[in-house]
């Protein structure tokens, strides 16, 4: 198996650099392989490369030889009260051992109950009970993967009446108690702040800088919902457009509060030309650089 050994030795290793990367999506494979743009790192959805390999795995191997990698899971159903899906975890473990990612992340959400998967990122109530449950689940996952994971805050379209802990506190306590890191999605912070009348700046100020190991930036869509109880604006986390000015402003604030962090431009639907993502990436890089200039 000498070809594999050769490719391993070429792989960029170590922690992710504190620069901007992009979410790798299939329509951009060819351009990235041909042009090899200067991207700090790449992030992929873990489940797209599950199974024994296949055509997607062949491409991931090629990208991995050129860029540092982060694996971002969407299907582990971390907050579910069903037993952890050992098969899913095993496939993730195999993926990690094959591609040696710098980071592995999942979501502060649940997505399955009673054996039925809804394949969505559903909100958790922020209660002491849910916190204990999440701490134990994250510990089980970290134990079986033999490494730390990051947990990301999600966008929510509703709030539970019996939540007693602010989300930023819930996430920080989860990280402190379970030993996981935080993947801070600033667009999700903004979407939730607008949807639920919360203070996004306060959220960022409350984040423990050392526990935040990655930042996500993405675009959202503004919709209106209406039913018998009323009509209101709602922001949907669609990942289908550029990062909005308010989110860039929050990102700048976050850089001031916690220093440069590996940052990701995420785009999932209505995928544009790669140039648009590279343009967003440059903007994030500039904000990081100008922060250094100001500090100097």
């Amino acid at each position: 198996m000498s070809p594999v050994v050769t490719s391993l030795s070429r792989r960029p290793s170590g922690p992710l650099p504190s620069v901007t990367g992009i979410g790798l999506r299939a329509p951009h494979y060819r351009r990235i392989l041909e042009d090899r743009p200067a991207l700090g790192w790449l992030e992929v959805h873990s489940e797209n490369y599950f199974g024994n390999g296949g055509v997607p795995a062949y491409f991931l191997e090629r990208f991995r030889n050129q860029y540092p990698l982060s694996l971002h899971g969407v299907g582990l159903s971390l907050g579910s009260t069903d037993p952890l899906d050992r098969g899913h975890l095993e496939q993730l473990r195999e993926l990690i051992s094959a591609y040696e990612p710098a980071l592995v992340s999942e979501h502060l959400s649940w997505g399955s109950v009673g054996g039925r998967y809804l394949n969505d990122l559903l909100p958790l109530p922020y209660t002491e009970e849910a916190l204990d449950h999440l701490v134990s689940r994250v510990q089980q996952v970290q134990e079986s993967l033999g490494r730390q994971i990051l947990v990301e805050n999600i966008s929510c379209y509703l709030q539970y009446g019996h939540s007693t802990i602010p989300e930023h506190e819930f996430l920080s306590s989860l990280a402190a108690r379970s030993g996981c890191g935080i993947l801070l999605d600033i667009n999700n912070v903004y979407v939730n702040a607008r949807n639920h009348g919360l203070d996004a700046e306060q959220y960022l100020r409350a984040m423990p800088p050392a526990l935040v190991q990655e930042i996500h930036l993405a675009g959202h869509t503004v919709n209106t919902i209406e039913d018998a109880t009323g009509r209101q604006e709602i922001l949907i986390d669609t990942h289908n457009q550029r990062v909005c000015d308010d989110v860039w402003a929050l990102y700048t604030l976050a850089l001031g509060l916690m220093g440069a962090k590996p940052t990701l431009i995420e785009w999932d639907t209505d995928l544009p030309d790669l140039d648009v993502l590279l343009d967003e990436k440059r903007h994030a890089d500039q904000l990081q650089e100008s922060r250094h200039v100001r500090v100097a």
């Binding site: 599950f50 296949g54 109950v113 969505d120 379209y157 509703l158 919902i225």
Partner: protein, 272 residues
């Protein structure tokens, strides 16, 4: 039952079946519309996953009918995996029992072909590692006992209808004649991943019976008998040559004595 579990069961039911969780939501306006968002997200995510796997079925029945059919499918066959690529394996089975498509009897077979394509795409191809010298050393009298090993990234599909022709004329880049005559008759197909693409090859009836027999683990002699029962003119040497070349068959072992394990995976022979 914990409060968290109770909430998740009620929420799951509200998303899938339209039950209510209003009592646990906060008292802001638009509460039921907020649940609708999750319900719509759920059905649209699952629908998009099925559209990606079954583009030809969608073309054949039209986008609107497809949405209607998959909604029924989603209700009847819930996802049981956190990996959305696993979803949709029973779609062919669902279509064969779905009365509104009874007049399209080939539709379930088209779905089976698309599912085979999807699985083969995600499957790791086994690399052929045929040690021909070792094969030549097997005494001729024992050839019938050989068990031929299949490439993991292959599936066999067989239909009473010309489903490959149907599949081909419904590809986005197809420019030829759209006519498919049902009297073109049955077809037997091999779906295989080669050079990082999925290919579909026609098989003869005997060739299909031969491969199917090998795939369920029968030895060469039994597979040959099965093939000849299906097609008297089946010619073993041609079939073997074709499928070693295509990469359908990637190895072999002698099985009469379990201590003789001949592994070609690493290109050398273990005899314990």
């Amino acid at each position: 039952m914990s409060a968290l579990r109770e909430l998740q069961l009620a929420f799951g039911d509200a998303v899938v079946n339209g039950g209510s969780v209003q009592e646990v939501l906060d008292h802001r306006p638009g509460r039921s519309a907020r649940m609708d968002l999750y319900r719509n997200n759920y059905y649209s995510n699952m629908t998009e996953a099925l559209r990606a796997t079954y583009p030809v079925v969608e073309k054949l029945v039209g986008a609107e009918f497809f949405r209607h059919a998959v909604r029924r499918y989603i209700q009847r066959y819930p996802s049981t995996s956190g990996n959305l690529h696993d979803y949709g394996d029973s779609f062919s089975e669902f279509l064969s029992a779905f009365p509104p498509v009874a007049e399209l009897p080939y539709l379930p077979d088209v779905a089976r072909l698309e599912w085979a394509w999807h699985e083969v795409f995600h499957e790791k191809a086994s690399h052929p590692a045929l040690n021909l010298a070792a094969l030549a050393a097997v005494p001729e009298g024992r050839h019938g006992e050989l068990r031929l090993q299949f490439n993991c990234a292959t599936r066999l599909v067989s239909s009473l209808y010309p489903v490959l022709h149907i599949w081909e004329v419904n590809q986005d880049d197809y420019l030829g004649d759209m006519q498919v005559h049902m009297d073109e008759g049955a077809c037997h197909l091999l779906v295989i991943q080669r050079n990082r693409t999925v290919e579909i090859h026609h098989l003869g009836a005997g060739e299909h019976a031969f491969l199917q027999s090998l795939a369920v683990g029968r030895n060469l002699q039994t597979a040959l008998t099965d093939a000849q029962k299906t097609e008297t003119g089946f010619y073993l040497a041609t079939a073997l040559q074709r499928h070693f070349q295509l990469g359908t068959l990637v190895g072999w072992e002698l099985d009469d004595d379990h201590h003789d394990f001949i592994s070609l995976e690493n290109n050398y022979v273990h005899i314990h």
